[in-house]
């Protein structure tokens, strides 16, 4: 690929795992650079996990700390469960990016800087007292200080492009640089550039040349004496693609609708970080998907209830504050016993909180946050790829039991990506609905013995006209009924309907030790950090087990038994102990919590260190 003569001797080394973070101004194209590197990584067959972290401001002031956008990827030849703790390489396009992210770079790690942005004005704006390139700030790192903009400008002299366009192409230089470092082929990105800038040949050419200039530059400079090759990861047999969490949710919904023989309706209002679900689904119109961008969160969920009443697989998605607005409607959904899935892609709260940062603090809201006794099943996704399974499972429960189901994802899962082993559609579990068109013996609130589902009779079905609403109903006829005995009966019925859902859950089998000193009990997106930490602990001979819950309401029936087999239980959560409280309310066990409220996921060392502390003197 590189045409230059090799000027210094270079070697290629094999390594297992690498973590890279691209960081720059929100206008520097770091998300695009990161996703290009990710696709390329998938192509070489490494396992990977990514974490995009961007500001909520669309364009914060240039060069400011608030405007720093980053994209992290960990990739390797072994199982990768997290985007990584500390960095082997940090790309810092400006002093603000350096200021925010330098603390995560390993000692002797590689720092790639676009020196043109390290002006007095910029480093002062980022809060550096003197130029970090000139003082001792970077003495512990290997620094590649490159005037990317100038090098790009030289390579595109003949194209007569504006300095702005040239600067914007610097991200491709950084990408090319890293492609050299990790012994990559440029083709996937060149194809991407050609497709993306097809209408602007000069721009396409500038980006291509910038990419190649970065590649060749890395090849020639002294600081890069070695480039690295990461062997292919050992994947389970199958066909894979890279997938983001919100995308996987959308796929799961479309697949579930098809499997159940239903059309998919989505009613929702845009909100970060859930909007991508609406974006994906609105592109699936050829699957018959109906997307309704409502005037607000309430109309989003109400139109969803309407769609469920009329017979579609009805979905709405939102994030915490939007979930709060939907709360009253969720009570109605429980009362009318209609199937639908309400997705909460959680973000930092309270209130508007941290719109683009991740958190798990809406578990109480999902399980408990309604007036009256209003039990709703809660399913949580664990990884970006698992979002597919979790969405499919949520639809299955909703349709088989005629009940609204909450699916919890979060910003980290929604925007994060990893390889997904593509399932065979025909092998996905069957989903049966309770649609009924036979008027014989029809009662709208007569419940099926096994599932406690009521019949799903949709408008348009002759001779079965019935009324439904939010007032308490008689079992059987569904007529309004306020009598004391009936309310007791219906309240217990709705609770029992929730409880029996657990009959279909697989048994809880801890990873690692199935009994012993310490169980790590997690839920949702903490899966990766916990699993990595537990694998490390097991490798060191510690007696630990790991259970990651997908079903949070109801809990699996054998969970209490499993908990009882461990002397200590650690529950790490990105909240102040919500699962811990639910567990201790349900089971007589002592647990310890680990709480992180920083808007970022756990690192494996957060978990590992806590485990070691709890096992002190036992190892």
């Amino acid at each position: 690929m590189a045409e230059d003569q090799q000027k210094i001797s270079k070697t290629t080394e094999e390594v297992d795992v690498v973590t890279i973070r691209f960081a720059g101004d929100s206008g520097d194209g770091m998300q695009l650079t990161g996703s290009q590197f990710t696709n390329n990584t998938a192509i070489v067959g490494n396992d990977l996990s990514t974490f995009p972290d961007y500001p909520s401001e669309i364009r914060a002031p240039a060069g400011s700390l608030a405007g720093v956008s980053s994209f992290q990827i960990q990739f390797g030849s072994q199982n990768i469960y997290t985007p990584g703790d500390t960095l082997d390489v940090l790309v810092a396009m400006n002093p603000a990016a350096l200021k925010v992210h330098l603390k995560d770079l390993k000692i002797n790690g590689l720092l790639l800087l676009n020196s043109v942005n390290y002006t007095p004005r910029n480093y002062k704006l980022a809060g550096w007292e003197s130029n970090p390139l000139e003082d001792k700030t970077l003495k512990d790192y290997r620094v590649a200080e490159v005037n990317m903009s100038e090098l790009v400008a030289n390579s595109v002299k003949d194209l007569n492009l504006s300095p702005k366009v040239i600067n914007r192409s610097a991200n491709m230089f950084a990408l090319g640089f890293l492609y050299y470092m990790y012994d990559r082929n440029l083709d996937s990105t060149i194809d991407f550039i050609t497709a993306k800038f097809g209408k602007y040949p000069d721009l396409a050419e500038a980006n291509r040349r910038s990419l190649k200039a970065g590649y060749n530059y890395a090849h020639t400079i002294k600081i890069i004496r070695t480039n690295y090759r990461i062997p292919k990861a050992k994947f389970k047999k199958g066909t894979y693609r890279n997938i983001m969490g919100n995308q996987a949710v959308s796929f799961g919904l479309v697949a579930a609708a098809r499997k159940a023989g239903l059309e998919l309706f989505y009613g929702g209002y845009p909100i970060t970080p859930a909007s991508d679900i609406l974006h994906y689904l609105s592109g699936f119109k050829n699957f018959g998907v109906k997307t309704f961008q409502a005037e607000d969160e309430i109309a989003g969920v109400m139109s969803t209830i309407g769609a469920a009443y009329a017979g579609d697989l009805a979905i709405t998605a939102t994030s915490g504050p939007g979930m709060a607005l939907k709360t009253e409607a969720l009570g109605l959904a429980v009362s009318v016993e209609l199937p639908m899935v309400i997705i909460n892609v959680q973000r930092g709260g309270p209130s508007t909180g941290l719109p683009t940062k991740t958190e798990q603090s809406d578990l109480f809201q999902a399980v408990l946050g309604r007036n009256g006794e209003a039990p709703i099943p809660v399913v949580a996704a664990q990884t970006p790829a698992h979002c597919f399974d979790a969405a499919y499972e949520a639809c299955r429960i909703a349709l088989e039991h005629m009940i609204p189901v909450i699916l919890l994802s979060d910003g980290y899962l929604g925007n994060g990506s990893e390889p997904w082993r593509i399932p065979e559609y025909k092998k996905l579990p069957e989903i049966k609905t309770h649609k009924k068109t036979d008027p014989e013996d029809f009662l709208p609130y007569r419940h099926d013995e096994k599932t406690l589902a009521r019949p799903w009779v949709v408008p348009g079905t002759a001779n079965m006209e019935y009324r439904v609403g939010g007032l308490e109903k008689s079992e059987g006829t569904g007529n309004v009924n306020y009598t004391p005995e009936n309310h007791q009966l219906m309240t217990e019925l709705r609770q029992r309907k929730l409880d029996i859902i657990a009959d279909s859950f697989p048994p809880v089998v801890p990873f690692g030790n199935s009994s012993g000193e310490l169980l790590i009990l997690g839920w949702g997106s903490t899966f990766g950090a916990i699993r990595t930490a537990v694998e490390n602990a097991l490798a060191k001979g510690l007696s630990v087990g790991h259970v990651q819950l997908t079903h949070l309401n109801p809990f699996p029936k054998d969970l209490g038994e499993v908990l009882g087999k461990f002397k200590q239980i650690l529950i790490p959560e990105l909240n102040m102990g919500q699962l811990q409280t639910l567990i201790q309310g349900k089971f007589v066990v002592k647990t310890e919590g680990l709480h992180k409220m920083k808007g970022v996921p756990f690192t494996q060392s957060d978990i590992y260190n806590k485990m070691v502390e709890m096992l002190k003197g036992l190892a």
Binding site: A42, K285, F287, G306, A308, T437, Y466, R467
Partner: protein, 339 residues
């Protein structure tokens, strides 16, 4: 839905009466409206199973329980959003929203204007009694300024909404007003609303016997109503009065009342054109004006492509362009690798 379709026997009003006991206060205007709706339903040519009546919360919102059709008693203010989901799921359905001045214009005001602007093929019947009935007598968004109620002992300091004007402002495509006591007229309006393709907004003045009795008596009492009500008819002059001796004339950009006493010719009287939006706006302005009659009938009517129709078209277009969605192909699009 059924495998064997036989021609259904002709339906009558009683086929639309449910087995539930009606629980409005004796003498409530809601009874009259319910009766008119049940009366016109068999004449619409719509199979009963294709009719869905959807409401929010309030006295009028008990309506669906009394109709022997599909029905959904929703939550406060949200009937229009609920109805949108029903209609988009099955555009074949004839969807009727029953709401009130509180449900539709206060708590549900936002959903109301957005349904009007989107123009889904849904009929909205807004029962306006200018008071909160179910919560026992507070002023509503249509109560007049100064209204003394339980929550406004010194008089309300809220300016009221003007419903037809609000609907016009929200780009409504069918805007009408009826009165509970004008039963024949109301039947005509309901049928007209049904035939309109798009959102039909029908405000119905409705007497609340308990908390706001007589608020529309000037429009309903035999002795005075002819002097106070202007019945709008498309293509007909705007004449009113016991002796049909008054008319509306356009003077500059205002309407004025003229006496048709022989000196002023009938030729000066404005002819109602329900497709004229500016005229509809002028007529809506009369809602609260003391020296003018109150218009009833269709203020405005314009056929515009509906949201539901455009949605179906878009789905058909996508299928035509991309082919019927293939799940396996979707899963495998982009770069894949096999191990």
């Amino acid at each position: 839905m059924n495998e064997v379709k036989t021609k259904p026997a002709a339906l009558s009003k009683k086929d639309f009466i449910s087995n539930q006991e009606v629980r409005w206060c004796p003498g409530c205007g809601d009874y009259a409206i319910l009766s008119q709706v049940q009366k016109i339903m068999p004449e619409l040519g719509v199979p009963r199973e294709n009719i869905v009546v959807i409401s929010g919360i309030g006295c009028s919102s008990r309506f669906p329980y009394y109709m022997n059709t599909y029905g959904f008693h929703g939550i406060h203010g949200r009937a229009t959003a609920l109805a949108s989901g029903v209609k988009l799921t099955n555009p074949e359905l004839s969807v009727w929203v029953i709401t009130g001045d509180g449900d539709g214009l206060a708590i549900g005001g936002n959903h109301m204007i957005h349904l009007l602007r989107r123009n889904l093929d849904i009929n909205i019947l807004l029962f306006n009694n200018e008071i909160y009935g179910l919560t026992k007598g507070q002023y509503s968004p249509t109560s007049e300024l100064g209204k003394v109620t339980k929550s406004s002992p010194f008089g309300s300091i809220d300016y009221p909404f003007n419903p037809p004007q609000l609907a016009l402002g929200a780009a409504g495509t069918f805007i009408a007003r009826g009165i509970d006591r004008e039963q024949k007229h109301l039947q005509g309006l309901l049928k007209h609303a049904h035939t309109h393709t798009g959102t039909a907004f029908v405000e119905i003045y409705q007497n609340c016997l308990i908390f706001n009795n007589g608020v529309f008596s000037h429009l309903t009492e035999k002795e005075v109503k002819a002097e106070n009500v202007l019945v709008l008819e498309h293509g007909k002059p705007m004449i009113f009065g016991k002796n049909e001796d008054k008319g509306l004339r356009l003077n500059g950009s205002h309407l004025e009342v003229i006496q048709l006493d022989g000196k002023t010719s009938h030729d000066h009287v404005l002819i109602h054109d329900e497709t004229n939006k500016i005229q509809a706006l002028l007529l809506s302005e009369l809602t609260y004006l003391k020296d003018f009659p109150t218009p009833i009938g269709v203020f405005y009517h314009q056929d515009v492509e509906t949201y539901d129709h455009m949605m179906i078209k878009q789905i058909d277009y996508a299928k035509e362009q991309k082919g019927e969605g293939n799940i396996e192909a979707l899963f495998h699009e982009g770069y894949t690798w096999t191990v």
